[in-house]
Symmetry: C2
């Protein structure tokens, strides 16, 4: 298997640059300058603008590996001259872990106890056996269900199609969301943000939930009508909310969600840079190995579709 020449660029983010260089070597590639590289591993998510100037010097480039799960930052640069791959699915295990962390934190009142400076009354609920409704049937749900399996929860997946989702007790279409909400102890948002799903959780949906139900959002802030959520939390209409994403995001200082009771906000940590790198490095190494040996690459981007 020939070691092919792979460039890693830009080097503006040291930790990521080094990790991607290691991945190239671990995958059996040879680090190379962009002028002679056959592959390029993009190593700074924050600087897509540096791309055109860099690839203008490339003479042998065939393949570009992007670090993103969603490649919107590179939408303008996609070009069918090259094969593109991205990080689709790479981060889902980390996000699923964060979902379970937030679900358990809500049940065990960890947000409240974290804020306490004195001993207080023991409260908390058991997650095991409870009714969990997950909106979205993608990679996060794929990785969440095995983590939930030993808890023996009653899991309903709500998605566009009613095709059964492995590991769920039932799968229903989004049109039946309101049937499911009253029988939900924990509602997890793990769906893509589209025109149809923007604001999918608003006052009527929050009112349909039992008053002990928790909302966990690791998808996008725009799925939830924030003002309606603030009202529901303030009125104890639901048990609480754990939000890894918000609208607006970042959530500004002084926003009422910061002081809403039973609200735990994490700043989009489901996939932190340090967690992401640990997952991305072996993934990129595997794609380098595949590139060197002529196998199909993981997470290909369809340039025409743009994802």
């Amino acid at each position: 298997m020939p070691a092919r020449a792979i460039a890693v660029a830009p080097d503006t983010r040291a930790g990521m640059y080094e990790a991607m260089c290691r991945a190239v070597i671990d995958g059996g590639g040879t680090l190379a300058d962009i002028t002679v590289a056959e592959g390029l591993v993009w190593s700074d998510p924050a600087h897509p603008g540096a791309f055109p100037g860099l690839v203008a010097e490339a003479r042998k480039l065939e393949w570009i590996q992007l670090p993103y799960a969603g490649i919107e930052p590179f939408a303008d640069h996609l070009d069918e001259r090259w094969r593109w791959t991205c990080g689709k699915g790479v981060y889902a295990p980390a996000v699923a872990e964060t979902v379970l962390a937030l679900m358990l934190a809500g049940q065990k009142h960890l947000h409240g106890y974290s804020r306490a400076s004195g001993w207080s009354r023991p409260v908390g609920r058991i997650l095991g056996g409870s009714r969990v409704t997950i909106l979205g049937g993608g990679g996060i749900t794929d990785h969440l269900l095995p983590l939930l399996a030993p808890f023996g929860c009653d899991v309903t997946v709500v998605r566009r199609s009613s095709e059964p989702f492995e590991g769920a007790n039932r799968t229903v279409t989004t049109s039946r969301l309101h049937e499911v909400l009253p029988r939900t102890d924990v509602l997890v948002l793990a769906l893509a943000l589209t025109a149809e799903t923007t604001g999918i959780i608003a006052a009527p949906e929050l009112a349909a939930l039992p008053d002990h139900a928790w909302l966990v959002n690791v998808a996008r802030g725009g799925h939830v009508v924030t003002d309606d959520l603030v009202t529901a939390l303030t009125n104890d209409a639901i048990g609480g909310a754990a939000l890894d994403v918000t609208d607006p995001e970042p959530l500004p200082d002084g926003h009422p969600l910061w002081s809403a009771p039973n609200c735990l906000i994490t700043p989009h940590i489901a996939n932190t840079p340090e967690m992401g790198l640990a997952l991305l490095e072996p993934f990129v190494a595997e794609n380098v190995r595949r590139f060197c040996s002529g196998e199909d690459l993981l997470a290909p981007v369809d340039v025409a579709l743009g994802y």
Copy 2:
């Protein structure tokens, strides 16, 4: 199968009294006054002192069901005239859930984010694949390992005997604790408090842990030398601590642990009254059923040994 007469007492704690009455009926028993009862379900953990006066009136009593996992409160009342059962093992599933909640909270920095009133930098680690060391090979560990299984952690159980613990990658005796500590990302205390295990985690053990390691204690506060832990937390010698039990307990206001960085304290919530009742009710129902049908009872107490 004859419905046997079961008393539920005292009625000083309404929620528990009602739950235990339901359990008697669900188990096929008949609620009865203590004077004619063949069985007694004790329904207020906080009032063992009411026991002698009550049983003085009993004429047909054979069996007493206590609500505790550890029956120290009834130690003075144990009497071989009757068969005793307790709640051994009943609460372990709830405690195991809390262990995982605290492990994940540490990895995802939930204590820090809970205290924040503004957006901050995303930090966090992946629990999946990390090295977990569990002190104790009892019911909590039994129930924790299945919850951990899908995370693919490398689990070491440290216990008195080196008999392999199912689901652990390895089991070692307590004498080898110091070999294991440097290779530990999360250290879980789930062992019984005895003379040998009091203060088992002190300055030398904390120093042997990697500086990112988290300590999770759901056993007893006395396992940890609190002052040494405060020093380790203050010096960032370990990653953090999540404590459901403390020494002293309750932890007094103003204690340095309340303000120690990276310390999450929950007030002995691993088994809250509301969680415990949900687990105890079906357990007592099952024991009532067994009592009525003459089968072996669950969680028998050895009166001579006192547990």
